[in-house]
Amino acid sequence: MVAIASREIRDGDLVFVGMRLPILAYAVARNNHAPNARGLFEVGLMRDQPASNFLGTMGDPPNVVGALWATRMSNTMALMAQGLVDLGFIGGAEVDRFGNLNTSYVGSPAAPEVKLPGSGGGADIAILSKRWVTLMNHERRRLVDRVSFITSPGHGDGSAGWRKRNGLLGGGPAAIVTTLCVFRFPDGGGEAYLDSIHPGHTFDEVRANTGWALDAAEDVKQTVAPNPSELAVIRRLQNTDGATTAV
């Protein structure tokens, strides 16, 4: 999942990194195909290389050592509001087929079955970054037909041009990367389509664990497996990173 996510980072990108797996994905990209990618962290940091010690959070001291900028959160948001953030990563509890994320409430906000932590910077990234990717354990309860609460908007109701009509600055979700497959979105928004299935997994497995109807598509690719140099970075960091194994 990390290696696949890392490939969404293009060389020279300014990446709004966020937490946990995306921190690994940035490290993999930076050490492989995107040597000039910079990481922006809402805590108030910009970096051009991964931290050299383990990070439990983006605000941990190792992420400050060697930083290119230690500043206020609102300044990192200013860059994103200007359309200068090429790619953002957002975690989520629930994603729907239009790429909307719910990290706020399962059930009614007035009397929720589950109170999730909330947006953090998620909604800001979803609305303002040029494109974004979400990483998700592939479970039927997480990939739902429609989220009951849109914390971080993807393509809204899926109608063409929904984001433009609602004045959202960025292009919206580019991909949903799960533990089984990769979903992508047509240009201009709409519904997620199955783009590739990870090696060792099957379409039936994906369909069984997805909360919306998938029609068998002949042209589904197999996800390119992580290459040795990608794996090397992941292994090196995982050794020092308890959190990632948890995800």
Partner: protein
Amino acid sequence: MDKVMTMAEAVSRFVPDGATVALGTALEPLIPFAAGHELIRQGRRDLELVGPISDALFDQLIGAGCVRRITAAWVGNVSEGLGHCYRRAAEKGVPRSIEIYDHTNFSISLALWAAAWNVPSLPARTLLGSDIVGTNPNIAVADGLAHIKAVRPDVAVVHVQRADAMGRAHAWGPLGITEEAGLAAERVVITCEELVEAGVILSDPNRILFPETKVVAVVHQPGGAHPSPVQGYFKRDHEFFRDYAAESRTAEGFGAWLRRWVQDVPDRTEYMKRIDAATLRVKGKQLSAPANFADE
């Protein structure tokens, strides 16, 4: 004016029941846990907590029954996930029900800038298309922009690396929304790793966070941010966060945790004896290059 006092005095004098309190404004680092624990020990009630994300501290204050309303972007345990006390309060009203005014990280910052500049609201490009707009009465969408109402804390409690007795504070590393929180707040309580001579602070006026006129109390509290990190002083105590997440899964477990780490601990000095401070303390030195402020 010398503003140095104990945590007990600072909290009892400047954070009354019902107050709107900004905490954890630097996001993951510099979280004023010592101040939060003193709020719990003093049985403070009906607080409105204001912050961006709040790594476990808001969850603890909610679990202890101190909180009436949350005005924040995220409440949980950053490295571990959900905030179990937050869930119990929001889902079951245990130990009491709370009001939740959801924000995003950007919008809570702008809400504080609005208060700092004393305008009713500020416009922003965030929040469009998010259901948060419908649940927070202080956010409205008009003319293709979100309009975020000012949030003015009665007090901001800020942990910093060093301060002097007059309340001039130096902090470094990422600062999140600390500056706007201090400017927006009626008053600021500083807790610090080191209490230093005024000369140390005034040697670098650019690093001073707030005008001293906002600061009402200075509490010398080494380790006052544990288990959150303090650049140059303390590493983050990841295991402590992990243990808290595990123990707070049930109300009973949280109660036991609270007795062990807060209620049965008289003060931070005693608390520090119960953690492995030696391992967490930063031993290395990576000093900033000096800036010459000479005028002749």
